[in-house]
Amino acid sequence: MTTEAPTIRRERLQGAGLDAALPYLLLAPAVLIALVVLIYPLWDGIRASTQFYRYGKPLRDVGLGNYLQLWTDPEFLNSLWVTVSFVTLAVAIEAVIGLLLALFCSREFRGIRLLRTILIIPMVITPVVVAIVFRLIYASDAGMLTAFSEALGGQPVQILGQSGPAFFALVALDVWEWTPLMFLIILAGLQSLPVEPFEAARVDGAGAWRTFVDHTLPMLRPVLAVAIVLRTIDAFGTFDQVFVLTGGGPGQSTLLLSIFGYNTAFKYQQTGYAAALFVTMGLIVLALALAAVRLLRRVEAS
């Protein structure tokens, strides 16, 4: 069987003999690597999540016991709550500021090139280093905020040692680091908008605010939606920054799911339980993403 039936929308090449095997050959290396390194371990991890581990070795099968235990574990529930609050707050702020920045840069002005260049920096710096930057800001003895406060005659500033401030400090870090990404995506969206509706609006005498609400925002909705979804999915897996900034503390106020899972797996050696946690996390994010895709389709259709 060497000939493909001709398709009406000609998206596929036609060929014979070796050419028929070609796609599979081309795909082979990628699929092989992904299979061995990602798919098989993922399957292995799902299997591990049904076991009870002790000192790194599986002891007995507990079926779905680990999963059930998760949902009655106050530490997990707290961690889930912290993660959801963190993601919601951070992404919301990033979207708003990103939008404002994009609007600000929608027309050329003096210094805009410099601004756009500098704005890349927070996104590309290693997240571990970003956390170091912010530890150096927040530290109560050696930090920038304390230095400024004392220079103005005040007291050392306590941030990372207290639950509430530590949480918001983490949100601030995320906003500093990732708003540029939102900005870039929304800006690209802005720049790809058709010009005519705005021309028409201007001719009609519409003010800036009206133009924004009636034209810009609706047309930007798909782009905004994509940016928010992508950022949300990534924010759920935040690990590096929290690990370096607070380690999950003080107490459990910044204990994101990823850190909780890491502790469970490597500090307490509850490998099976942690595996169940990660699978659950993956399912939650997957559900979120699918819901978002559906929402996106509806937004694009309108």
């Binding site: 009870f52 002790r54 000192y55 790194g56 002891l59 106050p74 530490e75 109560s140 003895d141 306590q158 040692g161 207290q162 639950s163 690990f243 380690g247 503390g249 003080p250 107490g251 459990q252 490597f266 500090k267 307490y268 050696q269 509850q270």
Partner: protein, 441 residues
């Protein structure tokens, strides 16, 4: 880059591999140039340690000394938060990256139970030598010679799998202008005289401690609990920390002590704790030697000369928490014999004396007997050891138990009451956890 077919891609891949082989050679060379040149017959020992001020005297004075004895030490330091899992993975995997781990003593049960450490007794280190400080060498055995045994090890012979390396324990640091008759002997003294000190304007708060949930709050609560006569488990691992004595200790801690401590204490960790005592606000604090010794550093303290050290206050007893650096050799160590030789030399009377002179708490009596200890905390440490010092329960799951206990205590501390109830709640969780972990038949 624009003119490639799959064959050419493969070619590029090969050149990349060649290039990376070149990089690998460079890295190997780069690696060796950071290790100082050594004698051809030096004994190589790779030590893994976590960054801690308690090891500074060892690093600065003992390692050079070891080099003169023919040991070539590679000292790999890492952050405390990652060392447990790294070393355990190394030992389990038999990766052979380390010859010696400088463990935190609560980790011994985990390593011991996994049977990944070398039998040092069989290797020639005598655990029965009377020069060892009793409570310290006890911690080197798995299963422990006294106390309850974890399931699966009830009939096993205690083996010396680790040896104490650098001693450390909690002692009391107090203001000598408030407690003018020396260290306050009882908890009552602490509060009463402390309040007098506040009234006299010398201090703001009689005590300060750590309230952050988890290890910090449990560590602060530990000496109180032990002094009130509390015990964590009976010899069948049934939870006993919520008996009457334990609850009394918890109520005292979250009630009286909190009322006499700085207001933010519920979120204090070592930084804030240290700031309170060194800054002159607090009357007394129980802390480990690493922080205690900062009291003598004029650059760190605002009340130089006013801070002294003593044994922890007594209720029924006066027992502090013992937490030492303890050294183990993995079965997969690449230079196993060198490692054991190094330990023998290190724990000899001579070297321990030098360690004490350098300012670290030694682990042998002869080390303590040295005439000129490097810091004035060392004799006090010996006094505390003799008065009473207990390590954390010898079980591989202590980290999790501590977390559960810490959460409950922290909640009660925030409320300022309900210490006893918190212990009951924690007891239920801990029992459930231990049951699932197979501790009870």
């Amino acid at each position: 880059m624009t003119d490639k077919n799959p064959f050419q891609r493969a070619m590029n891949r090969r050149t990349v591999l060649q290039g990376s082989a070149g990089l690998a050679v460079a890295a190997a060379l780069g690696g060796t140039t950071t290790v100082p040149a050594r004698a051809a017959d030096a004994k190589k020992v790779i030590i893994g340690a976590f960054a801690d001020g308690g090891l500074t005297p060892f690093k600065q004075k003992i390692i050079p000394l070891a080099k003169t004895q023919g040991f070539d030490i590679t000292f790999l330091e890492d952050e405390y938060g990652v060392t447990l899992e790294k070393w355990f993975a190394d030992a389990q995997n038999k990766a052979g990256q380390y010859d010696l781990y400088l463990l935190d003593d609560p980790w011994v049960p985990q390593f011991g139970a996994a049977d990944v450490l070398e039998d040092l007794g069989a290797g020639g280190i005598d655990g029965t030598n009377s020069d060892w400080v009793g409570p310290l060498i006890d911690m080197g055995y798995w299963p422990p010679r006294q106390g309850p045994r974890v399931k699966g090890f009830e009939t096993a012979t205690p083996t010396l799998v680790t040896v104490p390396f650098v001693g450390d324990l909690q002692t009391l640091t107090y203001r000598n202008d408030v407690f003018t008759d020396g260290a306050p002997a009882t908890w009552d003294d602490v509060i009463t005289k402390g309040k007098a000190g506040v009234a006299a304007g010398k201090i703001k708060y009689p005590v300060v401690f750590r309230g952050v949930t988890g290890n910090p709050i449990v560590t602060s609560w530990y000496p109180v609990f032990l002094s009130f006569g509390g015990e964590f488990f009976d010899d069948k691992w049934n939870v006993t920390f919520n008996n009457a004595k334990g609850k009394a200790a918890a109520d005292f801690f979250v009630g009286t002590m909190k009322a006499n401590a700085p207001p933010g204490v519920v979120e204090f960790d070592s930084d804030q704790e240290g700031a309170a005592i060194l800054g002159g606000d607090a009357g007394a604090i129980i802390q480990y030697s690493g922080n205690a010794i900062k009291s003598d550093d004029p650059a760190q303290t605002k009340v130089p000369g006013k801070l002294d050290f003593g044994v922890v206050p007594k209720q029924e007893k006066a027992i502090a928490q013992l937490g030492i650096f303890i050294a183990g050799v993995p079965k997969s160590a690449p230079n196993k014999q060198n490692s054991i030789d190094f330990l023998k030399w290190y724990t000899s009377a001579d070297t321990q004396a030098k360690l004490a002179e350098a300012g670290s708490i030694p682990v042998t009596r002869s080390g303590f007997a040295v005439k000129d200890p490097g810091n004035r905390l060392i004799p006090v440490a010996l006094k505390q050891l003799d008065a009473g010092a207990l390590p954390r329960p010898r079980m591989p799951d202590w980290a999790k138990i501590e977390e559960l206990l810490g959460n409950a205590l922290n909640k009660a501390l925030q409320a300022g009451s309900g210490g006893g109830d918190a212990l009951d709640a924690a007891a239920t969780q801990v029992t459930a956890y231990l049951k699932q972990a197979g501790y009870y038949g």
